[in-house]
């Protein structure tokens, strides 16, 4: 019976192992997480009680003063970095989309940030950004400037800068790869019709590239929403709570000395819901883009 079941559905043999593993690895921990978020479990204590929605009440009634702030800067960070990286990445891809000899070298340079370990890199940036003995201010001093990179006003933007440094090349490479694999027929047709450069760009290139751009947006938006390594190394969420993104808030509540696992799990659930909703919306957009084209 099982045999005939698989015979009728030959794809299962191929996709099942991966699906089963992924399912087990995501669904069980997620259920577990929901369970934990309903308790007042604290790290290291032997017992706990179910407090049901109390942890969520705390978040939504403003008792956790930092929560809403975390949500807003996380979303802000997502929007800002994705927008900057997309624009810069696109611009870079256009710059690269031409033939020249040392191109491989440019690529080699661009791979450096992509391959650098964020946790360690964050520390190096922290040293570079030190106001008193950092190398960035050393350079700026030649122009008579001095920036307190990690002060309250600037820490958020410094984190954005590091994220942009690390991920723009990735976006640029995706878009570049997309440009390179565009079909040539529409362009030839356009040339025959005598279409202008801008028209070609708007009517042919953009629609064709749209899926690639959306894909880059999906990756970047979600990854920056759950950013942890860089702000953790760079600012530890400070000064004040200026860079306390949601993942850091989870970390601070659940670990790092306080140990409120239950409360931290509730914030995790919010983070999970946020990423899921946003990625669903983006993925839906992406699918539309792909299907319209196909």
């Amino acid at each position: 019976m099982i045999r005939s079941y698989f015979k009728k559905r030959p794809h299962l043999v191929y996709i099942m192992p991966a699906i089963v593993i992924l399912g087990a690895l995501t669904i069980i921990p997620t259920i577990f997480l929901y369970g934990l978020s309903l308790t007042n479990y604290e790290l290291g204590y032997p017992t706990f009680d179910f407090v049901w929605l109390e942890n969520y009440m705390r978040l939504f009634t403003g008792k956790d003063a930092e929560f809403w702030y975390s949500v807003s800067i996380s979303l802000g960070f997502m929007l800002v970095t994705t927008a900057i990286e997309l624009l810069l990445g696109f611009w870079l891809a256009v710059l690269l989309d031409r033939e020249f000899k040392l191109k491989f070298l440019v690529f080699a340079c661009m791979i450096v940030p992509v391959a650098m370990t964020p946790s360690i890199t964050g520390q190096i940036w922290k040293l570079m950004m030190n106001a008193e003995y950092g190398v960035l201010n050393y350079f700026l001093q030649f122009f008579g400037g001095k920036v307190i990179w990690l002060s309250g006003e600037n820490a958020f933007w410094s984190t954005v800068l590091v994220d942009v440094w690390q991920n723009t090349p990735f976006v640029a490479l995706i878009i570049y790869a997309g440009m390179r694999s565009l079909p040539s027929d529409p362009y030839e047709a356009a040339a025959i019709d005598g279409a202008g450069k801008l028209q070609v760009f708007r009517n042919i290139t953009m629609p064709l590239l749209w899926p690639m751009i959306l894909l880059a947006v999906i990756f970047r938006a979600i990854d920056s929403l759950k950013t942890f390594d860089i702000p953790y190394s760079l600012t530890q969420g400070g000064p004040g709570s200026t860079t306390e993104f949601l993942s850091l808030h989870v970390y601070r509540l659940g670990f790092a000395g306080t140990g409120w696992i239950g409360r931290s799990a509730a914030v995790s659930v919010v983070l999970l819901v946020l990423t899921t909703v946003i990625s669903m919306v983006l993925i839906r957009l992406y699918r539309k883009g792909v299907e319209n084209k196909g």
């Binding site: 369970g35 790290l43 290291g44 204590y45 032997p46 008193e132 990179w149 400070g238 000064p239 409120w260």
Partner: protein, 464 residues
Amino acid sequence: MSNKWTKLTTVMLLAAVISACGSGNGNGNSAGTGNTGGNSGGAPAGATDTIEAWGETIKSQYGGDTLNLAFASHPSTESFQKLTADFEKLTGIKVKWEVMEETYLKNKQLLDYTGKTGSYDVLMVDGFWMSEYGAKKVVEPLDEYIGNESLTPAWFDYEDIIPAYRNGISKYEEKTYGIPTAGETRFIAYRKDLFDKYGKQAPTTMDEFLELAQFFNGKEDGLYGVSMRAQRGVHAASGLMTIMYNFGGGFINQQTGEVTMNDPKTVEALQFYVDLLKNAPKDVVSYTHEEALSAFMTGKSAMWLDATALAKRILDPASSQVYDKVAFAPTPEGPDGKASALAGWNMSISSLSKNKEAAWAFIVYMNSKVNAKAYVEGGGVPVRTSIYEDQELVAADPSYPVQLAALNDANVLVEKGISWIPPHEKMGQILDRVGYYVSAAMFGEVTAEEAARKAQEELEDIAG
């Protein structure tokens, strides 16, 4: 159908969590009692009167065992590591070090305990964590070990450890949970050359301290008045504590357990701390030990107030640009008199350790009076009276007399019946919350009064 399954799995999983946690607790307890029972019954046989004889005895019992350690990156740890080879040779016990930064360390120790993994035998425990660890039974009570002469030979000399440390950083509810290994109080280091140049004297009161900070701030190109650590969280809270007791403030009333964050004295201290650090480098709100110290050592600040344990680095020509231009002064007197920090690190035995007596042997060896000098010479931070009185060492380190003076100040609190680190099992949470609001006040988000009021609310929620 799928709905039913989901429900069923949920219930099963939750049950699993509960039983895991429940049974874990049982294990912890039974292991603890089982072991202490073992102590009194099967105390190690054999001579222990000299360190060599003790080594033989330990070797016959635990030779070949391995101990896993979870320690903080700290000068003392480095010194202990230098002593490890001798210990391994003497006892045949192998030692595996795991050394990391302190917030990671606490995390790791607590996760290890919660997960019932029991990977570690000996833990290095910050005095700040002791109440919490004691309450959660992360660490083993040590009184029976200390009292047992065959386990703790006379050459260890527990009484020689400065009483303020023994009582101040290693106990919870009258029980001893750790052996102090690195003590710290706090003092001011200041730039003697600058003070001479402008004809200033080291501050003796908090008012003078603030005035001097304001005086030197911007006095020379790129010079700030003072540097301290003030990163949100533990650092900011701890920084506030450095001066808070001199104003008579506190987080909680240690007699009644009432939260006293919005007590006028605490608010005054907070206001002072905020005002003081207006004369620090602009990014002081992100400073930990490292940045505060670096700012001072690179000549960017005229004064620095932090742990005595770090004095060695200031005086080290290899790391410091001001090593020959500094002098030290105790924490200035405040409106409420003298007081000084009393903090430090302990060695404790993990309650999940499967080899507690070997772990104790390690602690005894490393912290014994016999090895104290080698330990200090290796860069370790002293906790023993005999070390502070050692002429040779005093001559080598000009900060010793000031350290002793600071320790006397620290004792003022002990006499008032106040423990510098409030003995509260939720200390970690208290520090985090206070640290958040201190940082917010410094950041100008809220006024000192407002910060204190909000901290009061949150602390009442935690402590109540």
